[in-house]
């Protein structure tokens, strides 16, 4: 099994390499077909090298369906490189991707330096907050832009924000606010909060508490589900879990919705349908807030979904969409500035002129004060998109997208 994975990956990479070559050839043909009458001065080919730095280790999940694909995120970046190159063929721009993997929680400075040595001036980072911070200042001194697609930590956009780090991934507060707006619109304002015992579970729970205070929800009771280190999967585990969750929730007061904060995959998946009271579940299980969903087909999304499926052989996940958007943001800025000067591109992405379209029904732009990408958030169950936030009626003087997450007046970010 372990050897099968790299094999598949190699075959996949070969396929992509061929596909990239093929589209390049077609594009070159198209470019060379330009008749003499309208010929412009020969355009030199500009190369734009994008690095992809990823913390990866196989991960266990409560449901087999949630096991992340080996190329989660990476596949989205590759599809975007293909899209950028189709556009680039008309402008003499060629994009490439250097992928480097490190272990979670390991030192990433060396891996980052290696990417920069290869000439990458844009790095897509799928790293923990700690890892990302460890390279942010080095990157700034070397004139490298980082696009964060992995870390949802609000701290990276607040006290730890950096002038050269753009955040494509939504924050936990954006996700929680998106969910809270919907629950309030549904008039289901009373919530119980179940959260895991790991750091990221606590952070997600904090975001939900903040969202409750912000939008008028009531958290009537909270309970921590301790990770006692049990195996995630046992042959007859289901029988026990059914009772455990129910008993765990037995002493909770009356509520409309059960909120679950379990990013660590310890118990969340087991909550829906096993609750003490018959109540809907939302958070990291049940109705989940995310930047993308494999069933999202509104706003031209079906085109993205079918292109992704055809190229990669699987469905598109949130991290794939974040990686696609990051690479497309570089592509869009390169197209519009007609060049590869990272400083010009950086200025352009920060300017009022920049926007990127990512099948969300409106243009996406960066919040100037902390470089977070504004974006609608999808609320979905396993099979379909239930709703999209911001919900109607949540107004804002700048952009209704700024009703999600930390807004400018409350930000702790001072870009440096």
């Amino acid at each position: 099994m372990t050897s099968a994975v790299p094999g598949t990956l190699t075959a996949f990479l070969c396929f992509l390499f061929l596909a990239a070559n093929f589209s390049g050839a077609v594009a070159q043909e198209a470019a060379s077909k330009q008749p003499a009458a309208t010929a412009r001065p020969e355009k030199k080919i500009t190369e734009i090298k994008i690095g992809y730095l990823r913390a990866y280790a196989p991960q266990l999940t409560l449901s087999l369906l949630d096991l992340p694909p080996r190329d989660e995120g990476v596949a989205g970046a590759k599809v975007a490189i293909g899209d950028n190159n189709t556009t680039g063929a008309f402008l003499g721009q060629k994009f490439s991707l250097d992928i480097t993997e490190v272990k979670p929680d390991s030192d990433v400075v060396q891996a980052f330096d290696d990417l920069v040595a290869k000439g990458d001036r844009y790095v897509v980072a799928d790293l923990s907050a700690r890892q990302l911070l460890s390279i942010a200042d080095i990157a700034r001194d070397k004139g490298v832009l980082i696009f964060n697609i992995g870390a949802t930590d609000d701290s990276l956009r607040e006290e730890d924000c950096r002038i050269n780090v753009f955040h494509i991934a939504p924050t936990r507060s954006m996700l929680a606010d998106a969910l809270a707006q919907y629950l309030m619109v549904k008039k289901w304002p009373n919530w119980v909060l179940l959260y895991g015992s790991h750091e990221q579970d606590h952070l997600y729970a904090d975001a939900l508490r903040r969202a409750a205070a912000r939008f008028g929800g009531q958290i009537v009771a909270e309970k921590e589900f301790k990770d006692t280190g049990t195996a995630r999967r046992t042959d007859t585990g289901a029988t026990q879990i059914q009772q455990q969750i129910s008993v765990f929730m037995q002493d909770l007061p009356e509520h409309d919705v059960v909120l679950v904060a379990d990013e660590s995959e310890v118990f969340g998946t087991y909550v829906p349908y096993r609750t003490w009271m018959p109540r809907p579940v939302a958070g990291t299980a049940g109705l989940v807030a995310s930047s993308w969903h494999p069933a999202s087909e509104q706003w031209g999304g079906i085109q993205m979904q079918s292109r992704f499926l055809r190229t990669t052989g699987r469905r598109m996940l949130s991290k794939d969409m974040s990686a696609w958007t990051a690479v497309r943001a570089v592509g869009e800025a390169t197209t519009r500035t007609d060049g590869d000067d990272p400083e010009k591109i950086s200025d352009y992405i920060r300017s009022d002129d920049f926007s990127v379209a990512a099948f969300k029904g409106q243009k996406l732009t960066f919040r100037k004060w902390n470089l977070q990408l504004r974006q609608p958030i999808l609320l979905s169950d396993a099979k379909s998109v239930v709703s999209t936030s911001p919900q109607e009626g949540y107004l804002h003087q700048v952009s209704e997208l700024d009703t999600l997450g930390v807004d400018q007046p409350e930000t702790k970010c001072a870009l440096k």
Binding site: P35, T38, T86, T87, F90, Q303, R310, T335, S355
Partner: protein
């Protein structure tokens, strides 16, 4: 209130003075896989017929005998006999055809294949694919110059208008426009191409001789968020003086002075207005309103909406018989 009554009275007199000629409008209904035929004089539905899956792009032959319809999910272009409203054949289209344009002589169909980054060129008489032209990512908008010599395709993710020589089937120029260009429409004198950008929220006016953007038209409607203004369909009057632009979820059609590029008026129509077409006498403009399942008749003399008519589910495109 009084002003409105006056306008209505004026309108009524107008109608009595010279009754509008009867044309037939054909509306593709994206969601329920039907096409509705509408009498433009009585503003009543003549008949709704079943067509292929997810009908979107729709156009009519210059002699008015056949309607061509993109049945996107069936990967085909259907030919509908306008006398019987029966599907009488189909044309090869490549996968997922969404929009197309017929050459002015009615002989050639240019089809945008969103999934394949191609424009497919089809000879209508022989039903043969003449060429497949590589363009940008997610090709959509299609326009052809009045002399038939130049075709323009817009690609949504690439954000370009690709100018294609219809003799050589080669891309000759690429013009960057704003994000997600959806539609391309030549001015009747062929001097300009107008390209709408759905997500960018603008219409770029491209000089056809220079192949450069000479003007970007912006829109603003009181009380509406800028993000809801998403220009899609464009119709320009035969005298080239006025353009109508469908603004999607903004539920309005913008009336633009095509000489000064000033927006003169916003006409409230139905929800998510997508495409629009003139009757051949140019007296009436019909818009398709996807989310309210209706079409709106606009009197072009007053630029007032006259009536809305329920058609099928999610009306997408509209084509009107030449006589």
């Amino acid at each position: 209130m009084q002003g409105r009554a006056c306008a209505l009275a004026f309108l009524a007199t107008g109608l009595m003075a010279g009754p509008a000629s009867a044309y037939t409008a054909y509306v593709s209904n994206e969601k329920d896989n039907t096409m509705t035929a509408v009498d433009t004089a009585t503003m009543k539905v003549i008949k709704t017929v079943d067509v292929g899956q997810r009908p979107r792009g729709i156009t009519i032959s210059p002699d008015g005998k056949f309607v061509y319809l993109c049945a996107s999910d069936d990967d085909t272009v259907q030919i509908i006999d306008t006398s019987s409203l029966d599907v009488v054949g189909d044309l090869p289209s490549g996968p997922d055809p969404e929009l197309f344009v017929l050459s002015p002589d009615g002989k050639t169909l240019y089809i945008a294949n969103e999934d394949d980054n191609l424009v497919t060129v089809v000879d209508v008489a022989s039903k043969a694919v003449l060429s497949e032209i590589p363009v940008g990512v997610e090709p959509e908008g299609m326009g052809v110059s009045p002399d038939g010599k130049t075709m323009v395709n817009t690609s949504e993710t690439t954000s370009m208008a690709h100018f294609i020589d219809t003799q050589s089937h080669e891309v000759t120029d690429n013009v960057l426009v704003d994000t997600r260009p959806r539609f391309a429409e030549f001015k009747p004198d062929g001097s300009q191409v107008w390209v709408s950008a759905e997500v960018g929220g603008t219409v770029s006016v491209i000089d056809n001789a220079k192949r450069q953007v000479v003007k970007k038209i912006q829109f603003a409607i009181n009380g509406l968020r800028a993000e809801t203004i998403q220009p899609v369909g464009i119709a320009i009057t035969a005298d080239g003086k006025k353009a109508y632009i469908a603004l999607g979820p903004a539920n309005h059609v913008a009336v633009v002075n095509a000489e000064t590029y000033e927006v003169e008026k916003y006409i409230l129509v139905g929800q998510r207005v997508w495409h629009l077409a003139f009757t051949p006498d140019q007296k009436t403009l019909i818009t398709t309103n996807g989310n309210s399942n209706d079409i709106t008749f606009i009197d072009t003399a007053t630029d007032e909406p006259v009536q809305s008519l329920t058609v099928g589910q999610q009306p997408w495109g509209v084509a009107i018989s030449p006589k």
